[in-house]
Symmetry: C2
Subunit: 671 residues, 2 copies
């Protein structure tokens, strides 16, 4: 088979491929990222590339305009390579990782708790990790006392530290005799507390008890966040002079990266579909571990902690991400009746999963509740303290999916809404992830209808991200450009509103102002998609509340979690009916709630039982086939909602706006 | 480096070696067996080979006579190869495995219990294995009941079989979802009962509960024995019509082989020495596993059981064999104060040790007591029922070492005597293992002093094995050829007694009657070595008894275990003072006691606790540095013993014999 070369621009990478090979596939294998939200199925149209040189077999496709096709744009997933070629990956088909680091620089949202406040959510605990180290000084053996080295170790742990009935990992036994003698019978034992007692998982020479660290990870569908923690609870950077006051339990280092699985599909469903291809599951497992290993390297480099000192790993993720990470086939998560393989996972040795970490370290996986309510939500309920308060709380985590939990310390109920990844750019014509150049804040002038936009990184825009989308729709509604059905009004004195190839649209940025050399618009179809998404979430909340005989007015606290929460404009989200119109003081944004929970669990063994209790206590309500969900969903397909009594303030504001610019189409519709 | 070829006869194998390579080493690497009891240290002189062709660098050595050297005999351990050579491995330097199979053919010893009687030793138990299978019929999931597959499995096990709080091996989770669906929710669960509850270790499609097997192994220094058991307790061959009456718990198949480690030294000490070479431990671990894998293949082939149906492995071995098998450095077993790495070993996955068995199967290792009192002895105490009887019992296992246990159901004390492997041929000029051609029974005519010898396999003799050695010495003593010091009398009318190169000797077989073309003799030095061995064992018993204020007369039962026991002539063993002169009805020969115990443990979970209790209860007495052991040892260096009051019947018989043939040397000695 002859070989062909492909050169990718702007990254200037050259790869060697087989004649006839698929371009998207070849890029994936080479680790070159091209957006592809449909998993290469030629439906999303995101994997556009521009052929600069050479021949390729690549048909036309509805997602490509004639102009684009003539300019050389092709869908990579439809392209097979038949000569040496050169292609450009346009900016909108790339992912820009640097935005993740930017997030921290932005001014904290006014409802977002500062790190030091977050521990107010879960008061009354002490650092007492489940994986702990003890310094052990053994009496050397004599002819009168020559019990085995292991028996001596176990007896001394009981005698010196009161730890009785320790069991032992076989790998410790392999090196025990040598280390005891090399270190003159003075060693550091690493133990893990399990439901069945303490287990000895490592011995190190000398006194290493001051050096005990863990890594906690939130494995998201889009992004993976990691933190490195000092399990002795002392953070030198936070506590000048190296003295720990016991409350400053920040991470020693934080790192994050896009989940490398995004090359194989943007949401859990496309990932599950990909996993069913031959070798698909293995591939997905490998790439998520490769991202995690990169994060671990970064955390170790930032904190200057030696790899061998990491004793514990805690991961939280949604059920699909967790199963794929563990190599468990996610097939049945997607098929009615949506059954996960396991919700309680025993500790797994990290090296077995391919993680680059010492072989005594086990991965503790947050227990899950159901196929679409995962360990990330259980971790969020732990980390936000819902599990220990009387307060009736609605906890909402909106990421690639939307999961909602209702309850307090005595009971918990959950639903998962297939909200769809509209907030992450999918299904939106110029939708992008919250990446550099994404429009994240929008306001529209009430008289001129001209927009003011802010992008992440303050560069020329490349598209609209989730918070920009909410802002835009809220502003379009507020200014009367769209009506409550999301339909455009065409009689306004502005060329920003026009008829485009996909129907009516609003021009947020003109071609020459963008990085992508195209007008960035929000279409009526985009608005419809957003409405569907927000309706699903709102209806999910409603059904969940109704299932226990409650309503929004009963909610005492509303916690918004998820990377999304950091960018969300609360008032605008209420204005379009994504969030209910309740007292704004009841909202708390906690950021990454899963990571908060993972951190707590790693710091204190007392949370092990609580975590299990949360997972067991949480009752999941399946929305598919639910008798009232569809009605609630349809009722919410309106801005803000067909039940105007639920949004009195929004309605009042809309009433005032409508007096100024009455909508002919709306009037027509009402006749 | 130029390559040289070596051809070995009579096996006709050709190997390629580096110029200058050591011949013994090269043979070992190629898996060609040459006896070597000193681990290649040029002290035992067992690795004689005959150079037929080519040049080799190989010095003379005291173990080679001038005649042998002139004939081309060399010590392989001293030989380096400098040309293409051809060598013959003489029969006495080979091991003949076929004898192991022969043993079963021989008439049972009169004190040896028949297999069906052995269960009388441990009455009152039922088949209820710790590794068990249960058929589980799960309700398929619905939208109303879509808990995870694992939760469904765990709940159904509780509901259908009353097994609560099951934990799960991660490998089961990996395949659970697929198998549940492929088998229409009807599966067989394999569980193991541990101290911490039941653990699910396998699921198979359909009802496989009738197919649950285990393999038990006794890993001896010289020989490894294995049995394949039906854990449902039913043996088709033993129970016509396939009906099991619950008592016929024989093995479905039995197999054995020499421990391939014997190429690296004949006793535990030389093995430990070898393990300290670079790569030595790894090599020893690999070769013992290779022997075990061969035995497993044989067991599976004989029983026609599929490998996947083996659920459990139980091994018993002395501490050194166990540690090497597990890959644990045995170094400190040999160094004062003789500390093993661990006496209680957690279950280890068999595949991790290199065993060719399904990956859900764990190895249960019998707990050990001390460096020289291993799991084989704990298994023997279990298998012989000592642990549950009031009867004061002395349990003696004489193999390559001699271990002795005293006690009953309430207490146990043990000693280990470095008896030396005299009974296995080491230290005896024509000593061989109990292999084909080994002289195993001897009687000597009182008038002619001519011997009658029987060999294993009834072929021409190649040497003397343990039971032949005891017989010969007893007969030499009985006929007055040797005196009570083991010294030869030279005035008898026979040329069988003569002065040889190593001093006085008795000719058991003349050159032309043997396979080795040499006179087979027993020398005065051999007799001395045997006396040392039997003295160590007798003194060990004496010290052990004295340590609890008892004497031989207090013993109510004496159990002799070990492959050795099957060949031993009890009266002759008492005659030379190896065994005490007690009521002959108190003796029981149990054969391989360790294998009995291993079988019990695999059949019934109730023995798990008993086994642990035995190991914890047993107090080991170290004989090195013991204040009275040396005195007892010296006192026993006489035939039968310096304390003639302990052997009244033997002394009476000797008195009668001496009247007939008074010994001038003995009389001299007494003057």
């Amino acid at each position: 088979m002859p070989k062909r070369t492909v050169i990718f621009y702007p990254i200037e990478r050259k790869i060697l491929v087989e004649e006839g090979e698929n371009l998207l596939q070849a890029a994936m294998e080479a680790g070159i990222h091209i957006n592809a939200s449909c998993g290469g199925s030629a439906t999303c149209g995101k994997c556009k590339v521009k052929l600069l040189k050479g021949m390729a077999d690549s048909p036309k496709h509805p997602k490509l305009t004639q102009w684009e096709y003539d300019e050389g744009y092709r869908l990579a997933c439809l392209t097979s390579i038949h000569s040496d070629i050169e292609v450009e990956i346009p900016i909108e088909s790339q992912v820009d990782k640097s935005v993740l680091a930017l997030k921290g620089d932005r001014t904290a949202h006014k409802y977002l708790l500062a790190p030091q406040d977050i521990y107010q959510l879960v008061p009354g605990w002490e650092v007492d990790p489940a994986v702990f180290k003890r310094f052990v000084q053994l009496e050397p053996p004599t002819l009168k006392d020559n019990v085995s080295d292991l028996t001596r170790m176990v007896n001394t742990l009981a005698h010196q530290h009161g730890i009785e009935g320790v069991s032992t990992d076989f790998r410790v036994i392999m090196k025990l005799s040598r280390i005891l003698r090399e270190s003159d019978w003075k060693v550091t034992a690493t133990l893990v507390l399990t439901k069945k007692g303490s287990k000895l998982i490592n011995v190190e020479p000398g006194d290493n008890t001051k050096q005990n660290y863990s890594i906690v990870l939130d494995i998201g569908t889009t992004t993976i966040f990691g933190q490195l923690l000092d399990l002795n609870g002392c953070v030198v950077v936070a506590c000048p002079g190296g003295q720990c006051d016991g409350t400053t339990l920040f991470a020693l280092a934080e790192a994050s990266d896009y989940n490398a699985q995004i090359s194989y599909g943007e949401d859990v469903i496309t990932r599950i579909v990909y996993s069913q291809r031959p070798g698909g599951l293995k591939k997905l497992q490998e790439v998520v571990v490769s991202t995690i290993n990169k994060i671990i390297e970064e955390l170790l480099a930032m904190s200057k902690i030696d790899r061998s000192l990491i004793s514990h790993l805690v991961i939280a993720g949604n059920t699909t991400m967790t199963q794929i990470f563990l190599g468990l086939d996610p097939k049945y998560i997607r098929e009615d009746p949506y059954v996960p393989t396991a919700t309680f996972i025993p500790p797994v040795r990290a090296v077995h999963l391919g993680m680059n970490i010492d072989d005594h370290v086990h991965v503790f996986t947050f227990p899950m509740v159901a196929s679409y309510v995962g360990g990330d939500i259980v971790a969020g309920i732990l980390g936000s303290g819902v599990f220990q308060r009387e307060t009736l709380t609605l906890y909402m985590d909106i990421g690639t999916n939307g999961e909602i939990v209702l309850g307090n310390k005595d009971w918990l109920a959950s639903v998962s809404c297939s909200a769809g990844p509209a907030f992450e750019g999918a299904g939106i014509k110029f939708g992008v992830r919250a990446t550099r150049g994404a429009i994240e804040e929008v306001s529209i002038n009430h008289r001129t209808f001209e927009p003011m936009i802010l992008t992440i990184g303050r560069t020329k825009p490349i598209g609209i991200c989730g918070s920009g989308l909410i802002d835009t729709v809220a502003e379009l509604l507020d200014t009367g450009i769209i009506d409550q059905n999301g339909k455009f009004r065409m009689d306004l004195p502005t060329d920003r509103v026009r008829r485009g190839p996909d129907g009516y649209e609003y021009v947020l940025a003109r071609k020459e102002e963008t990085q992508i050399n195209k007008d960035i618009v929000l279409t009526e179809i985009d608005v419809e998609n957003l409405i569907r998404t927000k309706a699903a979430i709102y209806a999910g909340c409603k059904v969940l509340l109704a299932s226990v005989g409650l309503d929004f007015k009963d909610i005492e606290q509303m916690i918004i979690a998820g990377g999304f929460g950091r960018h969300l404009d609360l008032e605008k989200a209420i204005f379009i009916g994504l969030l209910p119109e309740i007292d704004i003081e009841k909202f708390i944004f906690v950021g990454n709630g899963s990571l908060l929970g993972a951190r707590l669990l790693s710091f204190s063994k007392n949370f092990l039982k609580e975590t299990e209790r949360i997972a067991l206590m949480m009752t999941n309500l399946e929305l598919s086939n639910h008798p009232t969900f569809m009605n609630e969903f349809v009722a919410a397909m309106f801005l803000p909602h067909t039940d105007s009594s639920a949004f009195p303030q929004v309605m009042g504001r809309l009433y005032l706006a409508r007096r100024e610019y009455p909508s002919p189409r709306m009037v027509e519709g009402q006749l």
